[in-house]
């Protein structure tokens, strides 16, 4: 299959891995930002193809993982109202809030539905005018455009029973937060290719300059990731801090202008809480006042978003690349995908789930 097979070719992968080994002369730590990349790395054992001096740490780019538990509490509270149908992405259903997950709310009787796109939720609202349809909108720059489109479509269709519970987040502010942290050990970034396909990588030049750090926009196939690492390692060895684009077949410098325009039309930037990382300024998207009637926070003003409580889950450190999943004392024991203590064990893009699935000898049945 084109665009897949050539990027999973064992011989080509070996050649790039050899080139990396020939380039590295000292220890470096590189973070892949996106959870999709984390999964590919762990699934294909890419980190095991690299020289020991090179360390990959996993970043915060799992949309489900960084959604704060308080938002899930709020979504469960809204979903428990008899007139409400709450829709969200399937991956979101199992993630625990403080009290329960949306799946548990559904098992308990709430009308919670999995949709593939927020536009499906708009369609559901149109077909069921007697229901209040709420879409729990999460994710990065990648999913924000379809949320924006959903609001624009709901407006065009004159729907009075559709609203968005927005918990969208933006990547560059989180990168700045990570780099400004005194415990930071990241020396180079593989930026998330899909995010950049939408948002472009204009914002990364200032980060690379300010923090003297190489940033390589990278795709998701094994060969993409290996090439991204090679470009990043070359920069580190040559003491450069540039922004490079490995994922040219999908990413342009300015991204997708139509998608960006839709996001800008519907949303404005605001401070946002991230699970395990606290509040990050200018890192979230809220509906503009012109679209207030589609804002679930305004439609259900009595619903509160509690601040995150302390738990023994180390997902905050995992998401910041400070610790790896298997360094958690609860990993695979108290915390499993069936009984997750944190979102990183639940989501298909979560680092803990990746380690559990691919890095752990299966338990006996």
């Amino acid at each position: 299959m084109r665009y897949v097979d050539e990027f999973r070719d064992p011989d080509a992968a070996r050649r790039v891995a050899d080139a990396i080994a020939a380039t590295v002369t000292r220890a470096w730590t590189i973070m892949e930002i996106c959870g999709g990349q984390t999964h590919a790395i762990v699934r294909y054992g890419i980190d095991r193809m690299l020289p020991g001096m090179l360390s990959l740490v996993h970043g915060p780019g799992c949309p489900v993982c960084v959604t704060p538990p308080g938002i899930i509490d709020a979504a469960c509270a809204i979903a428990s109202r008899p007139e409400v149908t709450l829709c969200t992405f399937g991956d979101m259903l199992r993630v625990p809030g403080h009290e329960q997950s949306l799946l548990a709310a559904r098992t308990g009787g709430a009308d919670v539905r999995m949709v593939y796109s927020p536009l499906d939720a708009v369609e559901l609202a149109r077909e069921n005018p007697e229901r209040e349809v709420v879409f729990l909108a999460i994710g990065f720059e990648t999913t924000a455009p379809t949320s924006a489109m959903a609001v624009l479509q709901a407006e065009r269709k004159g729907l009075a029973n559709f609203s968005l519970l927005s918990s969208h987040v933006l990547v560059p502010p989180a990168m700045r937060q990570l780099l400004g942290d005194p415990t930071n050990r990241v020396q180079g970034f593989l930026a998330a290719g899909h995010v950049c396909a939408v948002a472009g990588y204009r914002d990364y030049h200032a980060i690379a300059r300010q923090f003297r750090i190489p940033i390589v926009v990278t795709g998701f196939e094994p060969l993409d990731i290996l090439q991204g690492i090679l470009l990043c390692v070359r920069q580190l060895e040559e003491n450069r801090a540039d922004v490079e684009n490995q994922y040219r077949r999908a990413v342009r410098h300015d991204g997708n202008r139509t998608a960006r325009a839709a996001v800008g039309q519907v949303f404005e930037v605001q401070g946002q809480a991230w699970r395990g990382m606290g509040r990050i300024e200018d890192s979230g998207l809220a509906l503009r006042s012109r679209f207030a009637r589609f804002d679930a926070f305004k439609r259900f003003p009595e619903v509160r978003v509690p601040t995150e409580r302390q738990t023994p889950c180390i997902s905050g450190e995992v998401l910041r690349g400070v610790r790896k999943p298997d360094e958690c004392p609860m990993f695979g024991k108290l915390c499993t995908p069936e009984h997750p203590l944190g979102a990183t064990m639940v989501s298909s893009e979560g680092a803990c789930a990746a380690y559990y699935r691919y890095r752990r000898a299966p338990e006996a049945a």
Binding site: G45, V64, T107, M114, T143, R357, A365
Partner: protein
């Protein structure tokens, strides 16, 4: 943040998982296994032998009978390549075929929702008639119940089947030996992706068709060809990976397969790539894995390729390696395969 055991009680543990049935209890993965182990096995005193195959042998002397039962709740009821009726027949006769049994008779029970269109019921029943003819089996007993609107999702069908075991040696996981080749009877992932595409109105072009088909034909060809069959397993719920893991656990071996050898059609691969779904875990309704004696590998493959050119040897049975049930080689690296937890859900971005 450091680990503080004292605060464990404050963790956001989902409150539901302990005491209610979740969707994943029907998914064929870990929770299904746990349900069988903790609820059904103690109640019905199944032996380990009963639980290792898709059907149970019930004869005592002379020709042995195989008996199996299954319930069908697919949504949507109609999908490219079949409907709930063809599944209900093929699913049950295929469970018999996996014991090397020629299907003799099938019963069918219908739970129908009030208000269900008679025309749809007729379509389903006619499909069952044709499927039974194709599989060489008669539907000899049935039952019909109607429940109030909202109490069922259109129609549910439960079928049971009896078959006559034709192989001379028992076909079961315990017969599997290190060195045995692992063969798959065709390309994988069609049924699950066809149903998902139909359910979610994902307009793949061309549409992906279910592979649902009777399997006794190729199985009997293997038996008639004198192939020493060690284990057969249809790759239904949970897909090829789950079938291999279950066999490996029963046989106390490790099964090693190669990604490059597994055939997946481009439409199925494309759909799986888009949705972030692993085709190894996607259901099939007309594919099985055959583990045969080492010396019979090439002959068995030739026989199976007469039925489906995409049949392939995808790996080999190895001595048990610690806790690893099955492993797969991809880009020159190898990883363990595990039962999946819960349903496979499409990725977000």
């Amino acid at each position: 943040m450091t680990f503080r055991p004292a605060s464990y009680g404050a963790c956001p543990v989902p409150a539901n998982s302990a005491d209610r049935i979740e969707m994943a209890h029907g998914g064929g993965g870990k929770l299904t296994q746990r349900l069988i182990d903790t609820v059904f096995k103690p109640a019905f005193a199944f032996s380990e032998e009963d639980l290792t195959g898709d059907s149970a042998a019930i004869g005592r002397s002379g020709s042995e009978l195989a008996f199996t039962t299954d319930a069908y709740v697919v949504q949507p009821l109609f999908f490219p390549g079949g409907n709930i009726g063809s599944l209900a027949i093929f699913g049950t006769v295929n469970d018999l075929a996996m014991s090397g049994a020629r299907p003799l008779a099938v019963s069918a029970a219908f739970v129908i929702e009030e208000g269900f269109a008679l025309a749809d019921l007729i379509r389903i029943v006619e499909t069952m008639r044709d499927a039974a003819a194709q599989a060489g089996v008669r539907v000899v007993a049935g039952d019909t119940k109607v429940v109030e609107r909202g109490k069922a999702d259109g129609v549910y069908i439960a079928t049971s089947g009896v078959g006559e075991i034709g192989s001379r040696t028992p076909i079961r996981p315990q017969a599997v030996r290190a060195g045995d080749p692992v063969i798959v009877s065709g390309d994988i992932g069609r049924h699950g992706m066809a149903v998902m595409a139909a359910r979610e109105s994902l307009g793949f072009e061309p549409p992906i068709e279910s592979d649902c088909a009777p399997l006794f034909g190729p199985v009997s060809a293997l038996i008639d060809g004198g192939i020493e069959l060690h284990c057969l397993r249809d790759c239904t719920r949970g897909g090829l990976a789950t079938a291999l893991i279950e066999i490996a656990r029963c046989a106390d071996v490790t099964i090693a397969i190669k990604q490059a050898k597994i055939r997946i059609s481009d439409p199925v691969r494309g759909a799986c790539e888009i949705l972030g779904i692993d085709p190894l875990y996607v259901a099939n309704e007309g594919r099985f894995t055959a583990i045969v004696a080492g010396g019979d590998a090439d002959r068995a493959l030739t026989i199976l390729q007469r039925h489906d050119k995409a049949a392939a040897i995808i790996g080999v049975v190895c001595e048990r390696e610690g806790r690893t049930d099955a492993k797969i080689e991809t880009i020159g690296t190898t990883r363990a395969l595990d039962l999946q937890t819960g349903e496979q859900l499409p990725r977000i971005c």
